[in-house]
């Protein structure tokens, strides 16, 4: 579905992505790694928000490098960005109207409100009056309403209360059955491995390795080496 080949990104002198090569198929794929390894840059580069200095990105065979973000979105990719980036000037419902302009499909405003009843309650509230969890639900809804074929989520569990994270995991696990691909960037190993059968590990702007989630969960040494944490605490 999404093929990334030798992708390079420079911020001035800094070589942030160093020849990233990664394939995302129909199965959800998690990308994990410590802070500053280039995960967010990878998401933004695929989306066209950051210019690549080399390499290529193809989605369903079509090249994406050099396209403006709205063109990338038009090809069927949606982004849930790090930090949510909902629009403070728009109410919840206005976000829905703005986001539901893309292709028709399974996700409608009514269905979003059924899935996230909290958003229905707050439909007239402005973007700044929402809690972190509500903003995250809004950012996810904004992506789903475009009815994309691939959703890229950049640390959706960041800063959320555990009970909200559980709800999030439940929603994300349902996406593959909708025919929606998922590239999930996470620092929370529990969330990543709960949602995705496979994880890719990013170290210093490169994909260091890729393995089934179960393998990583069973390998404490790898967790410490790549993430500096152990998943033992989760579950």
């Amino acid at each position: 579905m999404l093929e990334i080949r030798g992708l390079d990104v420079h911020y001035g002198q800094a070589h942030v992505l160093q020849g990233v090569t990664l394939d995302v198929g129909a199965q959800p794929l998690a990308v994990i790694g410590r802070n500053g390894m280039g995960k967010t840059t990878l998401c933004q580069t695929v989306m066209g928000m950051v210019a690549a200095s080399g390499g290529e990105v193809r989605f369903e065979g079509r090249p994406l490098v050099g396209l403006a973000p709205n063109k990338v979105a038009g090809h069927g990719i949606a982004l849930v960005p790090q930090g949510r980036r909902t629009f403070p000037s728009l109410t919840v419902h206005e976000h829905m109207i703005l986001a539901s302009r893309g292709r028709r499909g399974g996700w409608t405003i009514e269905r979003i409100y059924e899935t996230f009843p909290r958003l229905a309650e707050r439909r007239k509230n402005g973007g700044t009056q929402l809690s972190g969890g509500e903003q995250q639900m809004l950012a996810i809804s904004r992506a789903l309403l475009a009815n994309p074929r691939l959703v890229i989520m950049d640390e959706p569990s960041e800063g959320l209360a555990p009970v909200i994270v559980d709800h999030l995991v439940e929603v994300l696990r349902r996406l593959p059955s909708e025919g929606m691909g998922l590239l999930l960037v996470e620092q929370n190993l529990g969330v990543a491995t709960d949602v995705c059968p496979e994880v890719a590990i990013m170290v210093n702007g490169r994909i260091a390795t890729r393995m089934p989630s179960a393998t990583l969960l069973a390998d404490d040494a790898a967790q410490r080496r790549y993430l500096g944490v152990s998943a033992g605490a989760h579950h």
Binding site: M49, R85, P88, L90
Partner: protein, 308 residues
């Protein structure tokens, strides 16, 4: 504005009630013109962070092109001369604004200083070209008879009808802008773009196209202001600088990018100019800048502006 209308007996020690009412009404009619022009300036800045230093040129360009269309029609006594002049003024300013955005400013999105300098350059070129084409004699539009004469008001007496129409047009512009920003999809996009252009693009919106629409709208408002302003008072060389400076002061006082703030700023500046001229004509300009200094000292983002 009923609170600013003096009641029968308390006109103050320095003005009679009627004079005070006239000064306030003059201030409000001036504020109406400032609002029309500055709202376009504020709109462009709000979405694109472009400080368009050629905004006064758009005013002047709209006025002269509008006049060039108006004059031959007026000479033939056609009743719609003024209306067509307005349309020509809006269209020419909007078209020039779009041309500026496409050919110059779009290439330097986000480079505010460069855009400011380039638009200053454009304003100098436009001013000289208009001088070359139209010469230095002053011109004035004549509004249709139905809105041209005078209206008798209580306290004030006879007052130019067109000045009152000017307030009506400004209110109409304000309401239309509010509806556009709050009730239309384009308005949603504009407001979302003010918050986060990049994320708006990632949501699938063609942001450069929205920018173009906003630039056309903002520039068109400058053109509309040009015709309205040149119907109320003569059109002369140099109005570009005057209306650029006024627009800057209005949006600094009211808050960049806020339509309601622009209205408040326009009313404060319009009243300050007229009250200043009535009370201490020599130093009247000081009052405007006192207001601006006070706002900058106490609330640098403007009265309704958002902190940067």
């Amino acid at each position: 504005m009923s609170d600013s209308r003096p009641g029968g007996g308390h006109g103050g020690i320095w003005m009679t009630g009627g004079l005070a009412a006239t000064v306030v009404l003059n201030g409000l009619t001036l504020a109406a013109l400032y609002f029309i022009v500055a709202s376009g300036f504020s709109l462009i800045f709000g979405l694109m962070r472009t400080v368009n230093m050629a905004h006064g040129s758009l005013y002047m360009l709209g006025a002269y092109v509008g006049y060039a269309v108006f004059e031959p029609l007026y000479d033939q006594d056609l009743w719609y001369a003024w209306h067509v002049g307005i349309l020509a003024g809006i269209a020419s300013a909007a078209a020039f604004g779009v041309l500026m955005q496409v050919s110059l400013l779009g290439w330097m999105q986000g480079q505010e200083l460069r855009q400011a300098l380039v638009t200053i350059g454009v304003s100098i070129i436009v001013a000289d070209q208009l001088l070359a084409f139209f010469g230095g004699t002053s011109r004035q539009f004549f509004a249709p008879d139905s809105i041209f004469g005078s209206t008798t008001l209580p306290e004030i007496g006879r007052y130019p009808t067109f000045r009152l129409v000017q307030i009506g047009i400004a209110v109409g512009v304000g309401v239309a802008l509010w509806l556009l920003l709050n009730k239309t999809r384009l308005g949603l996009m504009i407001r979302a773009g003010v918050d986060d252009r990049q994320m708006l693009a990632a949501t699938g919106v063609n942001v450069p196209l929205v920018s173009l629409a906003v630039f056309a709208l903002g520039a068109g408002l400058a053109g509309l202001g040009g015709i309205i302003g040149s119907t109320a008072q003569p059109l002369v060389q140099g109005v570009d600088v005057r209306f650029l400076l006024t627009s800057l002061v209005v949006v600094i006082v009211g808050g960049m990018g806020s339509i309601a703030g622009t209205a408040i700023g326009a009313i404060l500046v319009g009243l300050a100019e007229q009250v200043g001229q009535a009370m201490f004509p020599t130093y009247s300009v000081i009052l405007t800048f006192l207001i601006m200094s006070a706002v900058l000292a106490l609330r640098p983002q403007g009265i309704l502006g958002r902190p940067a």
